[in-house]
Symmetry: C2
């Protein structure tokens, strides 16, 4: 496809964005990276092949781009990048597609699509799942919805970044809706992993043994197998931070309230992530919810002595 040579701009070079940029480069696409953080831009250039730019070079790159991938955190950042002061929308060429990867409520996706359409621009509602390692391997899952023209314009970039692209509908909205369903489960499963492992410690079982055994039993989950080893190793680095699930489960709770749906498990998990943030653990890995449980029960975990009030080692 001719799309293989179309220039791509990627905005947001954190762990996910950097990995996605690498996958785009590996697929032979010309990639320009943009981030507010100079260190992230330097890391992208040092990585080889990528060009990181600031204004005015930024605006020139945007004018060339067939696709812009937004790997920012939330709807407010997406809004600011697209339409804020120094926003990118006025600099894009007609027919360019914005591939939006942040997690937010579907109504924002619908709004962004409509506003870009008025400027002759395409929008793909394209939240991602899989974590930084899969991002770097080009093996993400992308939950995408949008107009057929948006899919067509995004195809080269999607194929470079994803192992699986779920095509969920021909307008923005269903992609974001599927992602928040996924985040409901992911957030509940992380909190449940922390709850089960601390409960088991209270029953006298060693954390690593539980991770080994339960991973091969009916109680397992993707998150249990991914996050359980971090708790067993006392690793609370922010591979994905507590704050992400404060945000994403907050989106779930708000959407449920609007729809008069009950989500008691999501709310119980959200309360745990809130408690972790209030304990000063917001920027630790999301498994730091285990510290909240351990403190309440006066239990020790690997790397976290009992009654440790300072956030572990």
């Amino acid at each position: 496809m001719s799309a293989a040579a179309d220039p791509v701009v990627i905005i947001g070079l954190g762990a996910m964005g950097l990995g996605m940029a690498r996958s785009l480069l590996r697929a032979g696409l010309p990639v320009t990276g943009i981030d507010r953080d100079a260190a992230a831009m330097a890391a992208f250039e040092a990585d080889g092949g990528g060009v990181a730019v600031d204004r005015p070079a930024r605006d020139a790159a945007l004018r060339q781009a067939a696709a812009v991938v937004l790997v920012v955190v939330n709807a407010a950042q997406t809004e600011a990048v697209l339409f804020g002061e120094d926003g990118i929308a006025p600099h894009l060429r007609p027919g360019a597609v914005v591939i939006s990867c942040a997690t937010f409520a579907p109504e924002h996706a619908v709004d962004f699509e409509a506003r870009l359409a008025r400027q002759g621009l395409l929008y793909l509602d394209a939240p991602i799942s899989g974590g930084a390692a899969k991002a770097a391997e080009g093996r993400l899952s992308i939950m995408a919805s949008g107009r057929p023209e948006a899919f067509a314009a995004a195809r080269g970039a999607l194929d470079a970044m994803a192992e699986t692209v779920f095509e969920l509908g021909d307008a923005a909205g269903p992609g974001s809706a599927m992602k928040i369903v996924n985040q409901l489960l992911a957030g509940v499963h992380i909190a449940a992993t922390a709850e089960a492992l601390t409960f088991g410690v209270g029953q006298g079982i060693e954390v690593g043994r539980m991770v080994d055994v339960i991973s091969r039993c009916a109680g397992t989950s993707w998150m249990f197998e991914n996050r359980g080893p971090f708790i067993a190793a006392g690793d609370y680095r922010p591979h994905s931070a507590v704050e992400i699930f404060v945000k994403d489960l907050g989106i779930v709770a708000e959407a449920a309230e609007k729809g008069t749906l009950s989500v008691p498990l999501a709310k119980a998990a959200l309360a745990r992530f809130h408690a972790a943030r209030e304990a000063g653990l917001g920027r630790e890995g999301d498994v730091a919810v285990a510290k909240v449980y351990a403190r309440e029960g006066n239990l020790a975990l690997p790397g976290v002595p009992a009654n440790d009030d300072k956030g572990g080692d």
Copy 2:
């Protein structure tokens, strides 16, 4: 090993016990089956190779048995089968092992082991995971702890029934402890599956599509992949009933209370299973918690119209 020819008695010929009995027979072990339900005993005999007995033939079989496998529901049934009126313990030969598969708090396992030891009998704390299909294939996971002599006496039966035998300690207790950790997760994941799928229906997504997509994303769990398709198919038959998780999450909540541990997700899930039972769904499949969510949100699910107050189709 000579254990391969040792006679086994299995007590409890429900879906799990019947599958396990078949696996024992397939391994060449002489198996006698016992159940209070005549239909279950007839099914076992019709299956070929098995002998189902009632008293006094029962007591003769017990005197021959090297191992007795108990596939009953809870601690009270285990207590009654072992030590109640017409209990089996007085009829077992010295050195025989009781392989106890029910789910209950570890303190009961410790108690049963001690009381059997006083009669010269061995006890293996051996809860199972995997469901009826794996039971029939001899591919269960068994979370076992007990004395080395108990493991040795049980080995032939364990190998016939299990793909994996986790050896968790040299006394009763850790097997049951690991199982209730597993059940905490399993129960939370079933309720979370119901919560996420109904939430997603409220967001306009079709249930089967969610099952397909989330199964390949970070929100998946063993239970999501196993139970999600039942909700998508409107299948509320009791492959495993609501009542099982009312029981097992009740054990978790009680154990947590004794240990002053917090288990808010387990309690939120338990409340959902209670609500399902109170709605008259206790003997439906555990996925009937989805009906509770659907009713509260006035949503339709496959096979369950909106505002259906009679328990589905």
